[in-house]
Symmetry: C2
DNA sequence: CAAAAACCGGAGATGGTGCCTCGACTTCTT
DNA sequence: AAGAAGTCGAGGCACCATCTCCGGTTTTTG
């Protein structure tokens, strides 16, 4: 349960500048993987942090190790969210709230989306936290079903599917209208009710033709020359 | 409107074997791009057709030209579907039927999905056919809204979003359960009704934990060594 | 039937990418 | 001040997709 916060401390306490750089790398990794997904290069991360590639590879043996290190805490955060949602007064509200919050997190971080929905990244530690969440989510949904508010034919594995679907909407439109995913999720949640219940008011207006065209241009562009040179945040030269 | 079926006939009537191979290429392209998406290589297409790469490049100047050639007719087919849906008796049924049919087409052909939802492939011809569809779809949806069955706050540009979302579900699960997308689409369509209307019975059972795990393993796998050696259909050696 | 024209094949040229290493140099710690 | 720890980034390596080239084959023509 309680995990050591600094298991590396036993070996030797990194030199001061090294420790600082380590943190910079983690920060940059979050920013870069968040925006460009896990396909981003460690070279990109290094450049974003204003460091050399070698420095990154000295601290993290491989890309996977870096990814693992940065996402474990974020995953735990989501698990906590589920626990929290279980203690909501109204079961439906608890469930819906959980979905909104998690998708909100996903919407801002492409790397997180990929970690959560794929087993192709991260090591056993990531898998561990994910496994921990399954019973929580199951109970969360069963509770909402027993109260007669969530449709009874939904199963826990539908949740990753919903994340996947909304995630696709995010990826498709985020360049044009970063919050359009709310509209999509609202639509889906309306289909999840067991009780009739009037259609919810959609939280975001639809796109016009020009906007959807723009989205279609950005999607699946074979290669982007250099999306943007990430700024190099540095303090003292 | 009426397009020449064989505009190339004016130049010179390809040699017999060349014409045969041309058709083989088109067939193979459909199969390969359908399964692996537009990222597949012309080398793959050639190999699948049992031909050399050079042969393919002799017939089609570039990948884009080949893609254009194979999808124009399929796109027209979808436009026809829309026209057809407009003459359905019940506006809601017409709309829903159209969505089911188009997603059905998308579900079996990854290349088609990518062509339909991205402007990054194909030339002006593809764009032309797509533009032709916009007013049809608009009317189709307005008709269903005026009859009070489709929720009034939906707009035509929501349709590509729905395709995108279900398409993501297809891509995620098709290796595990090729028809699971029906479940997802049914869920979404339930959220599109204006009238309360009891929740529809889902047309496909949900996944179990092992299946979703399998889907998560297959998704975003960095590199696939050789997914499968496509069989080489040949007649006479 | 033979010559000419059209076509085929597939190795490899070309240009690109990503992961990671290495050795000369710099900074921190004691 | 010495030596341990850390940094840098060019470049090695391995991979990949697009498209070309030309000796050899098949079809058509006269």
């Amino acid at each position: 349960m309680t995990r050591d916060a600094a298991p590396a401390a036993s070996a030797r306490p990194l030199r001061r500048d090294a420790e600082l750089n380590r943190r910079r790398i983690l920060e940059s990794a979050r920013a870069v993987f968040g925006k460009r997904g896990l396909e981003a290069t460690l070279d990109d991360v290094a450049h974003h942090a204003g460091l050399g590639v070698g420095t990154v590879y000295r601290r993290f043996p491989s890309k996977e190790h870096l990814v693992e290190a940065m996402f474990v805490e974020q995953l735990q955060e989501i698990a906590d969210l589920a626990e929290q949602a279980l203690s909501a007064e109204d079961p439906w509200d608890g469930f819906v709230d959980f979905v909104w919050r998690t998708v909100e997190l996903h919407s801002g971080d492409r790397g997180l989306r990929e970690i959560m929905l794929s087993k192709a990244f991260g090591h056993e530690h990531v898998a561990e936290v994910k496994a921990h969440m399954v019973p929580l989510i199951t109970r969360l949904m069963e509770r909402a079903q027993e109260s007669g508010q969530l449709r009874a034919d939904l199963v826990p594995t539908d949740l990753p599917l919903i994340h996947q679907m909304v995630g696709a909407a995010v990826e498709y439109t985020s360049a044009v209208e970063p919050h359009l995913w709310r509209r999509c999720l609202a639509l889906i949640l309306d289909g999840l009710r067991a009780e009739p219940g009037r259609a919810t008011e959609l939280p975001h207006p639809g796109l016009d033709q020009a906007e959807i065209d723009q989205a279609m241009c950005a999607w699946r562009q074979p290669r982007h020359p250099h999306p943007a040179t990430p700024p190099i945040p540095r303090e003292k030269p």
